[in-house]
């Protein structure tokens, strides 16, 4: 994965994590670092676009609430967080985590923690899919005549 793709991955994992999960993740990495809040947690919206027929002309489906936050660590590294919902506390913690992750090696505790969260999220998705799969129709055809 490229550097950006790796970062996109952890941002996606953090967006799906709860505030408590991110709090626990950060706690593993030691005391919370000093940081400056460049954009205080702010709730706004993103207009969600669909496509007619799934693949055609773009249209506006409706908005979704989104909360964002940008912090800067003592060393100058900036961390961003953008996620659905209105949790300001989560946004700040996720932005700090994003900043720390950018300077951490792959074996670092935050990377490991993000990996564990990703696995947990994947397991939940798979369980939901298996429950849906239990409702999949098994057709059997009655052969008539010769």
């Amino acid at each position: 994965m490229t550097q950006t793709a790796t970062r996109q991955h952890w941002m996606a994992v953090l967006a799906r994590a709860s505030r408590c999960e991110i709090e626990a993740l950060l706690a593993q990495a030691g005391p919370q670092p000093e940081h400056e809040v460049l954009k205080a947690p702010e709730t706004g919206t993103v207009m969600v676009e669909g496509r007619a027929g799934g693949a055609g002309r773009r249209f506006n489906l409706g908005e979704a609430t989104v909360t964002r936050c940008v912090v800067r660590l003592g060393g100058g590294r900036m961390g961003f967080s953008y996620a659905l919902g209105r949790d300001a506390g989560k946004a700040r913690l996720a932005a700090i985590t994003d900043a720390l992750l950018q300077d951490e090696s792959e074996a670092g505790p935050l990377r490991q923690g993000v990996g564990a969260l990703a696995e947990k999220q994947q397991a939940a998705r798979e369980l939901a899919s298996r429950k849906a799969a239990a409702t999949k129709v098994d057709f059997f055809t009655l052969v008539r005549g010769g």
Partner: protein, 376 residues
């Protein structure tokens, strides 16, 4: 005509207290929590998110609690709250082909790649009361049993299968893939383009669209629809913040998508083929998505050179009347004081009646005067 009239403040404040009491109901019954509404009234929350045009299940639940379950009032709360928020931008267009499927059925193909997945549907329930639900003390078994294997990671959208054979009207973005029109920012003009129609219907009243969709089926719209596919599940929302320059996955939202397939006899320029109607909505809201797709097809009448004879085919009629917050506002404003207006009408009616009476009296007098002469 509106004239500011002072007074009534105390009465109005008292209504706030009374409404709070009515909302709470019998205090010996435990108060309902917002999280309970979100988790246990999810379909109602979906409707409020659609008509409030804002995806936020917690807020939808709060709106329902505050509005005592009145869906339109709740949608109004969502719309009002939305106006207080800054907009960060527009998402990347959703890719429903990558939906994490919970339900996916087709009425056109029995055997389709990925299969028919019934999901959490009321379609096969008996409409008989489950009185066990009244006994909250005895929790039943509510864990669904999973299958051994998950569903296919991605499932093709059914119309795309017909599309591959060239039998289906093509859905491709217009030249340059333009940014869609936003009717919350700019005034709508008619005839309205497809992006405007779809946005208006996505936030439109479910009941209104259901009625229109039904009218199309019953012969007020020349339609022979099949459900090509209905799918329900979770889709990622991606957004590119200007300052980052790459797409950020914001999380997942639940969506319902309906692709309606319709016959089309063809025209001078287009060979006979299937045409489509499209519906997309927040949450699990099949009836909404299906109704939207029926009306979407009906509104394409102009594009196919069909006569737009029926209400569901007329964009101005559909778009101007589908928004229930606007409609409720205009209908319900009739409750507000129109004292001066009405006083004027009252004066007018009295005057007309007086003049009519005078005319009649005059005619009678003339007739009486004329009578003796006539007798001669």
């Amino acid at each position: 005509m509106y004239v500011a009239v002072k007074g009534g403040e105390a009465a109005i404040l008292a209504t706030h207290d009374l409404v709070a009491e009515a909302r709470r109901g019998d205090e010996s019954v435990p108060e309902i929590a917002v999280a309970q509404i979100r988790e246990q009234m999810g379909l109602a929350c979906g409707r409020v998110m659609n008509e409030g045009s804002l995806y936020d299940p917690d807020l939808a639940a709060l709106a329902l609690k505050q509005a005592q379950g009145d869906a339109i009032e709740a949608a109004f709360l969502m719309r009002a709250y939305r106006t207080t928020l800054p907009r960060f931008g527009s998402s990347e267009p959703l890719d429903t082909a990558k939906m994490a499927i919970r339900r996916r059925v087709s009425a056109t193909y029995k055997d389709l790649p990925g299969g028919q997945v019934l999901g959490p549907t009321y379609d096969y329930t008996h409409r008989l009361f489950d009185f066990a639900l009244m006994d909250e003390a005895a929790p039943g078994e509510v864990q669904a049993r999973p299958a051994a294997q998950p569903l296919d990671a991605s499932m093709p959208r059914v119309p795309d299968i017909l599309g591959a054979e060239g039998l289906m009207e093509e859905e491709a973005p217009p030249e340059g893939d333009p940014r869609p029109f936003d009717l919350t920012r700019e005034p709508v003009s008619f005839p309205a383009e497809r992006d405007v129609r779809l946005q208006a219907m996505a936030r439109g009243d479910e009941g209104f669209l259901l009625g229109l969709g039904y009218s199309v089926q019953r012969g007020f719209g020349n339609s022979h629809p099949f459900v090509g596919e209905v799918r329900v599940g979770e889709v990622c929302v991606e957004f590119v913040p200007e300052e980052l320059g790459f797409a950020v996955d914001l999380g997942e939202i639940t969506l319902t998508e309906c692709q309606m397939v319709n016959q089309f006899a063809g025209s001078k320029d287009v060979p006979p083929q299937f045409t489509r109607g499209y519906g997309l909505s927040f949450g699990h809201s099949e009836r909404k998505a299906m109704s939207m797709s029926l009306v979407d097809r009906a509104l394409k009448a102009r594009e196919f050179g069909e006569a737009a004879t029926y209400p569901a085919q007329q964009d101005e009629f559909v778009l101007y009347h589908s928004d229930n917050v606007e409609a409720a506002g205009f209908v319900e404003h009739l409750k507000l004081p129109h004292y001066v207006d009405f006083q004027g009408e009252l004066e007018l009616i009295r005057r007309i009646r007086r003049e009519r009476q005078e005319r009649q009296d005059k005619h009678a007098d003339q007739a009486n005067e004329a009578l003796p002469e006539a007798a001669e």
